[in-house]
Symmetry: C2
Subunit: 394 residues, 2 copies
Amino acid sequence: MKKMDCPGFLTAGIASGLKKSGKRDLGLIYSTAPTTVAAMFTRNLVKAAPVLLDQQRTANGSCRAVIVNSGNANCCTGDQGMQDAIHMGRLAAEGLEVDEEDVLVASTGVIGEPLPLEKIESATPELIATLSADGLSGFAEAIMTTDTVPKVVSRSGELSGKTFTVSGVIKGAGMIRPDMATMLCFVMTDIAARPDTLKSMLKSAADRSLNRMTVDGDTSTNDTVLLMANGHAGVEVNGAEEIRKFQTVLDEVLMGLAKWLIQDAEGATKLVEIVVKGAESKPQAHKIADTLANSPLFKTALFGEDANWGRILAAVGRAGVPVDPETIDIFFGSIQMVKRGIGCGKKAEAEATAVLKQDEFTLTVDLNQGSASETVLTCDFSIDYVRINADYRT
Amino acid sequence: MKKMDCPGFLTAGIASGLKKSGKRDLGLIYSTAPTTVAAMFTRNLVKAAPVLLDQQRTANGSCRAVIVNSGNANCCTGDQGMQDAIHMGRLAAEGLEVDEEDVLVASTGVIGEPLPLEKIESATPELIATLSADGLSGFAEAIMTTDTVPKVVSRSGELSGKTFTVSGVIKGAGMIRPDMATMLCFVMTDIAARPDTLKSMLKSAADRSLNRMTVDGDTSTNDTVLLMANGHAGVEVNGAEEIRKFQTVLDEVLMGLAKWLIQDAEGATKLVEIVVKGAESKPQAHKIADTLANSPLFKTALFGEDANWGRILAAVGRAGVPVDPETIDIFFGSIQMVKRGIGCGKKAEAEATAVLKQDEFTLTVDLNQGSASETVLTCDFSIDYVRINADYRT
């Protein structure tokens, strides 16, 4: 198996007993050298304690380690929740012998229950002892909630004749919508970069991937994306050309993670790239794509592999954007299903249905009224989505 | 069985072959005297042909009959669709010997398929022949799509010593969200009133009921609400006191229809009245109630009878309204589950879970930051919702 880990980062993932299933639920990332860091957090006004803590601790643009648990979100837990998040960071800091302020904390899982800190406390020595240069897949497992597979994407590039690596880990798999469209995502690289450079590169990559996907339109309270750069590769990203090269690799990693998250979304059986084009402006294209990507009727039709283009037009019509239904074209893959607001008939529908049977395809809505476009990733809405979320806490 | 029909209106509902199942699919309302009419239509920019036609024909505030089919929405059907809607109205007008312009047309069902007009044409003589003073339940059956029961609510009141009646019929059961929150709703009364008086009373009643409910957040292309008044009872509603008395009865009918629609929504097992109070303004309270009422995670938790208050807080936090999570209280029925943003513990949760097991209950979110409140009706999101909508056209 190809090595996915980024040089200079040690990682670990173990079972501490937070998950009733006995699966891995506690993870650690540790950089052997100081790193610069860029961060993005949920825009939900209800923020979990670790999010509030990390907002403070990433303000100076540097960090050394991240400790993460799944099975409990440490959210809506009041002052005790903040004390617990600080304590959790301190456990890692003491074991790693680094400054407490350089340790970030993330949690995911059930909202509103106190964090069982004693389990994390007992497990931290083992967590630190098992840190390794190829621990990333174990770490990825430890941050999973309803995800079915651990998700790691790694790419390398070249700068000034030296190879650099970008390795990202992500977990979903519900309560996902644009801004911010993930629960937890950690990206490590061995380039060096100033925090503000890192930040603008992270934002640019996220705006094409993590901020353009949705599972159910519900924004998490714990969303955290971190990009850490430790300089291990001996190259610094500074000038426009270096930024462009690094950005390409970072974009690939984040888009790979975003697609994988949607593929592995709760109950999902399809990954659909919704392209809205011919709009008067990008925000208008985005609004229509987002309305469609969150429409329960469109998403259940996807699950049923039903080329129900009437539901697509109905969702476009309620998006709050002025459109003329009679100029709209719709394509499933390359098959035109609607021309100027009217269905293209039974033959087109049979061909569109064949496209719908694929695991992954593009749906294009061409408004034919301008030149702006936007793309949003979504999945279908399945019986298993309901089953998973009806029974989540039991 | 109590008579539900409104005096002076004849109604019918028959099977014309539009529904593959052979069930009733063609309905007619005919007033024996001219009526005034008030109308409300979908705000979706994609509007079905009969909606466009009725917008024109209700502009003068009068009508005589409504012909309605289920099984086909006559939407996204282009010029042919408009010709078909006009033709369908003409069939009724000729049979009833009334002016074509006084006949309204409504359609509901699959979007994007041509209306099989020949079936309607063959069936119209029988439809007219079966008009009767107690045909309302048959009419209610004929306008059903995924509804499981025909829905008629009738109430009477007294004005100037004379009894008047308000009888309403509604059909859902998916693609429902506020503004306008129904697909088709026809209300008949035997009072007399000027069109503008009717219109303001209809709007007032709808704003408390039909415009405050949601099944899935998807707005239909065919929503039509008509209130027809034929003066058969020999009383006119004109002055403030008469309006107040009539409004009370009309409100009861529309609220009764709205609640019934949500109870019978696609796959629904629960009717939940979401009350958001303590807001700074009514629009803010409405926005939060609406976000919650459409949150897939909240709605699947309802289906699972899981008092997952964390998801409620998370939905409040993403509603786009400035709120302080630390002042929020949440009640399931009369059970306080969250106090100042924090859960009230296992005992409260056990009691809240007992409330959730009821078929109908109130969920109250008190923001404690002002004095405005709003109420929205919603239902849970069930496995059957997905099943119904994945297989709708097959």
